[in-house]
């Protein structure tokens, strides 16, 4: 009867900060630590926001809050690696959208960091985390270089505390969508522009003082953008490039090689056709699984087996919804990857450990191991199944109430005969 929350209590729970970090012992469940094989009747101990012990027959600290997970499945919280989470409240309401820096001039917004636009009180956060998604990479969108994104946990009320790493990556796109504005209507133009910007950033960095003194040639992007690209050129910050057509992925690989970039491909619709190239370059791909239509001329090779075929070729794959409002369907994407050939354990890793590794935060995220941040979900069955219930969500060691605006509206209208009462504030 998880649903029968009294509306008043539920609303209070939604508004209040989640319970302070405490000592929690999750016992009796089948624990999928991801770092190793499943542990039947396993225990997970959480203290001060971190996992302190995982295994069978682990001693339970005195005073621990116990969660009985007998017959349940325990996993790390899911990690969505490409979303605009907390950067938009209503899609068609521009004032609520903060993920796209419109710069029609040069299509380069490298200095734009979405972090200051993150809304910790976004109503999209609760509806996402109650589905077991605890961590996201929230990113800018649009343009050749969209800007910088950050990774954060779906808990808290200050972005600087929620953040795991900010910025975590530079985002851009060489998809057909950008050709018109940034490439003179062509692919070649788009890649020319990308090289031009990288080249300018390199030249600028050799002598920024000369630029300040007005002793350099003109650059094709602003000073702020050129400065922001330096960590990318140094290979310290990954460049996440959206690319779909097989040849576009190959071109992106060439440019990454020329400039020594740490490349991540997002989308990669035809990635399976150039899987060996990706594997050789050790470039990971963020894959949306449910994509099999030739919806554009860069996606003629779209197929549901993309994730499985990439993985088989040795490419590291993180599974993403690519969604914001429906990021809660991350497990559905992973389940479908299994239906189309990805081994089950790989699908679990593709929504936990692999995105953490791809974005360089696997020291703290992605598995249930001592020392890791305590993002833990208890499921009443196979986490990838659509008919599985989420029973407990723990983020940074704090259990969050399974309440969102969506469940509150449901409860408010459960009894239409009680409209008068329902319409009161709880």
């Amino acid at each position: 009867m998880t649903n029968r929350l009294i509306a008043a209590a539920a609303a209070a729970a939604l508004a209040a900060a989640p319970a302070a970090a405490q000592t929690i012992a999750i016992t009796g469940g089948t624990v999928h630590p991801i770092s190793g094989p499943a542990i039947p009747n396993g225990t997970v101990i959480i203290q001060n926001g971190r996992i302190t012990a995982v295994g069978a027959g682990v001693a339970i600290p005195a005073g621990a809050v116990r969660i009985d997970a007998t017959g349940k499945i325990v996993t790390p919280g899911l990690f969505e690696s490409s979303t605009n989470m907390a950067l938009v409240e209503v899609g068609a309401v521009d004032a609520s959208a903060d993920f796209q820096f419109d710069d029609d001039e040069d299509q380069v917004a490298a200095a734009f960091n979405v972090a200051d636009g993150i809304n910790p009180r976004s109503m999209v956060i609760p509806v996402t985390r109650i589905a077991g998604v605890t961590t996201v990479v929230s990113r800018p969108s649009g343009g050749l270089i969209s800007g910088q994104g950050l990774a954060f946990d779906l808990i808290g009320d200050r972005v600087d505390e929620m953040a795991i790493r900010s910025p975590i990556a530079m985002f851009g796109s060489v998809s057909e969508n950008e050709q018109e504005a940034a490439g003179g209507g062509t692919r070649g133009g788009l890649f020319m522009r990308l090289r031009e910007v990288l080249e300018d950033a390199r030249v600028w960095a050799r002598n920024p003082q000369a630029f300040e003194r007005g002793e350099t040639r003109q650059f094709s992007a602003s000073r702020l953008d050129l400065a922001a690209l330096q960590p990318v050129l140094r290979g310290e910050m990954p460049l996440v490039l959206e690319a779909h057509r097989a040849s576009d992925i190959q071109t992106a690989l060439r440019i990454a090689d020329e400039y020594d970039l740490k490349l991540i491909i997002a989308g990669g619709t035809e990635g399976w056709m150039v899987a060996d190239d990706l594997a050789r370059a050790r470039v990971p791909v963020l894959v949306k699984v449910l994509r099999n239509l030739p919806e554009s001329f860069e996606s003629l090779g779209a197929r549901y087996e993309n994730a499985a075929l990439l993985r088989r070729a040795g490419v590291q794959v993180a599974i993403t919804t690519g969604e914001t409002f429906k990021a809660f369907n991350l497990r559905q994407e992973a389940g479908n990857a299994v239906a189309y050939g990805l081994p089950y354990e790989e699908a679990l890793r593709a929504v936990t450990l692999y995105p953490a590794q791809i974005f360089g935060v696997a020291d703290r995220y992605g598995t249930l191991e001592p020392g890791k941040v305590a993002n833990v979900v208890v499921w009443d069955g196979d986490p990838l199944e659509l008919t599985t219930d989420v029973e407990h969500v723990i983020i940074r060691g704090r259990e969050v109430p399974l309440v969102s605006r969506e469940t509150l509206l449901r409860d408010r209208y459960m009894n239409l005969d009680e409209n008068v009462r329902s319409y009161r504030r709880p």
């Binding site: 919806e295 409002f325 429906k326 008919t387 969506e406 509206l409 449901r410």
Partner: protein, 487 residues
Amino acid sequence: MKRALSALALAAVAAACSQGQARPADRPAPQSASQRPADPFPSTYRPLASAPTVIRGGTVMTAAGQIIPNGQVLMVNGRIAAVGQTVDAPAGAVIVDATGKWVTPGVIDTHSHLGAFGNPGVQAHSDGNEMTNPNTAEVWVEHSVWPQDPGFTRALEGGITSLQILPGSANLFGGRSVTLKNVPSRTVQGMKFPGAPYGLKMACGENPKRVYGERGGPGTRMGNVAGYRTAWIRAADYRRRMDGGGSGNGSASGRSASGESGASSGGSGGSGGTLIRDLELETLAGVLRGEILVHNHCYRADEMAQMIDISHEFGFRIRSFHHGVEAYKVRDLMARDSISGSLWADWWGFKMEALDFTRANVAMVHQAGARAIVHSDDPTGIQKLNQEAAKAMQAGLEAGIQITENDALRWITANAAWALGIHDQVGTLEPGKQADVVVWSHNPFSVYARADRVYIDGALLFDRLDPSRQPQTDFEVGLRPGETSND
């Protein structure tokens, strides 16, 4: 005044069938309204050849209340001949071993734009929204449907056997829909579901007012409602003059009153002479007669209540509210008027009128006694309607609403068939119905389930394990010459 719609729909079906055979002879243009052909673009669909077939060993889910472990389904001459624990198969029947699999009716989507917004989604394929006037009741979406849209075969691989193609939602009146059998064909006529009634697409709310707000209106919701009512007043007048012994009715002489095109909207009819056909009003009058079913894109609860009042004012029925993100708030009103809800499992947030979603929407509408339907409005979603239904079922169970697998299956089969007026032909596994059947690899509500076999009218249209039974559209032929073999 309120006649039983299903009876009307059946009458329309019968009429369409009987006249569908006869090719209209040379017709004068323009025509008088009284001699309009009931079916100028008749279905040429004929079921593919099939042998008597028994599917046995699987869990048979009839969507008519039965779930039969280790059950059997017999298909003969394109029809379901028997369903049960065992069936009497004729000698020589093809035996299909479905041990460990699930067998359901073919999946039906009440809301698709396949072919009208074809893949690839280039401007040249954008044929679903006639955004030239807020009332384009005169257009028929079948004249936009491109049968080579690869989305059709993808949908087939997801178990879709019938689907309604709707015009878009830019207009108050978007035009006529068409219901198709999901079979490969050179022509849309070769896909048209024989005898299926037409639908009329109507749209509430943000889309029409956004599209026309700076193009002469309507620019507000009240403007939208004025637009609906104005059109229905004209339609009622047109119908009265055609049906009610008005001047146009008795004149079967075939005189053409003028050289004016029948497609023009606006005031029509000859004064004292032959009534000139008006395609816009012909469709709207068809709704008033109960021959054409109203499919109403409408998100917000308050707007659905307004649309219901409009239907009362002019004496027609709304067959289905589409999208209905707030349907749960007016589920009692929907049940009272027998209005189905063609809904998503969990779409939300993309615009203001889609903000107040709950994942329990479908289940709450179901619980209130209205027909709940899970629809797609999406070329990917249509391939996984079983998964969307699974999520909606789970959300209902979480909310404490009793939902059976039979209920959830009906959301994508029987209830969808009802919304399209084809429930007597398809939607359940019952003797006499058309043999549209899916054999699933797993329980269809599992994320791992894939359609292994899809039958339409008893013919095996898709077999996952047999490449020779996997249709490919023209568009996909030779698309990737560099590739030798995929798997």
